[in-house]
Symmetry: C2
DNA sequence: ACAAAAGTGTTCCGAGTACACCCATGC
DNA sequence: GCATGGGTGTACTCGGAACACTTTTGT
């Protein structure tokens, strides 16, 4: 989370904790899981660090509305069709050294064609293997988000939110392999997906580079369905 | 949740939402799932209703510490060895008609021998089928808690927190049948549990009424383990 | 003796896994 | 013609599900 220090309403002025939303946005680009990070520069606690996008929840919005507003503002991304889920609420007393801030963390999945760096704000998509130590307790939030993403892909069709509307079986399989950190047999994978009926063929094909054209599929439903995938 | 209206610090006096913890305590007694409810009487919004135990999070405690404090105070139960998990954070604007209160809800499992009504406070264990319409958004919290309990029993050993330290296979099976709302074949159930190694025999037997004595088991670990049960 | 819950094995089926070759295209 | 990723079927294995009778006790 992050707290605006404007006015004279800092967290420690208050009798109670204040509420913030922190957002962990994931995307998968060319076989690599990436997370959106923003600069954090709040000496003396955090100097030139990175952190997840976050901010205070306004009085007239829910925590989820705040998360969407923050993600769109910091990432410049329209999240109206994306998968958003509440992750966990972090309330350790010392998680923000400036005062008592309780953060409701959200997980958001973004398809690669919408994942653009916002140079103006310094927001950058960073490969999960190159993420440095983050500000606040955001290392912990990121760990929890990755774990949730893994399990969620395993038992739902949430992958629809990490792919463009049309995609090949190879892309879908690559997504699973990248997030779950294992490989699948091509034939078994296709059999499984076909049997679940979560995707349907478009009839179209896409040819890419020097190889046979691949059939394009579409998710049957672009809303969360519980289905045993792995 | 519930808000203390003492002093002059009501929620709507504040610039930001205040944070409360609401607790959903479950137990299973003689084949029935029960939840701990407390009286809510806050005219003109809620008159002579019931709700989940709840209260504000103090500045010097985490949301989970608040949940435990509230549960022990309202239920008179020592929760040091019980299973406690954060459920979800509820932040609808109108969830508390008196002001902006964000509630972090917790799920707590209690074995039947610790589930006593606290007459002094009016706290009562109510069978899940006899729960009336609850105050605030507690109907929604209870729904989410039941759902979580179901799924959690299905893939972990969390049942250890709903049984006394020694129990029979019949009791364990009855617990699962009651929470999951289905029956299991006795032989398959015992085979499955034995194969997982989550319980060990004590060698002792317990005879109860006019029937063959049952072997007593004990959970191998009284801490959360992930194991595929159903 | 009988009621009541405990305890115990085998068969069947479906899902998961392992595995190798041909196809359509661009260069 | 060759390199690249796309596309396809079969055999085996293991875990889940169905299923009925005997045992031990109290009354």
């Amino acid at each position: 989370m992050k707290v605006k220090a404007k006015k004279n309403k800092k967290p420690h002025d208050l009798k109670f904790a204040v509420i913030a939303s922190d957002v962990c946005l994931f995307t998968v680009v060319s076989g690599e899981l990436k997370v959106l990070l923003t600069p954090v520069n709040r000496p003396p606690y955090f100097s030139n660090m990175l952190g997840l996008p976050g901010g205070l929840v306004h009085p007239a919005e829910t925590a989820e509305e705040a998360a969407l507003r923050i993600a769109e503002k910091k990432g410049g991304i329209d999240l109206s069709d994306q998968y958003v889920e509440q992750l966990y609420t972090f309330s350790r007393l010392d998680r923000d050294p400036r005062g008592r801030v309780v953060a409701v963390a959200y997980l958001v999945l973004v398809p690669p064609h919408l994942a653009r760096n916002n140079e103006e704000l310094g927001a950058r998509w960073v490969g999960i293997k190159h993420v440095p130590h983050l500000a606040y307790d955001h290392d912990e939030i990121l760990r929890a988000a990755r774990e949730r993403l893994r399990t969620k892909l395993g038992y739902t069709n949430a992958a629809y939110s990490l792919l463009p509307s049309e995609f090949t079986m190879g892309e879908l399989q690559g997504l699973y392999e990248c997030v779950l950190g294992r490989t699948f047999d091509k034939r078994n994978f296709r059999k499984k997906i076909a049997g679940l009926g979560i995707v349907k063929s478009t009839g179209k094909k896409r040819t890419q580079g020097a190889s046979r054209p691949a059939e394009l599929f579409r998710f049957a439903k672009r809303s969360l369905q519980v289905v045993e995938i792995v």
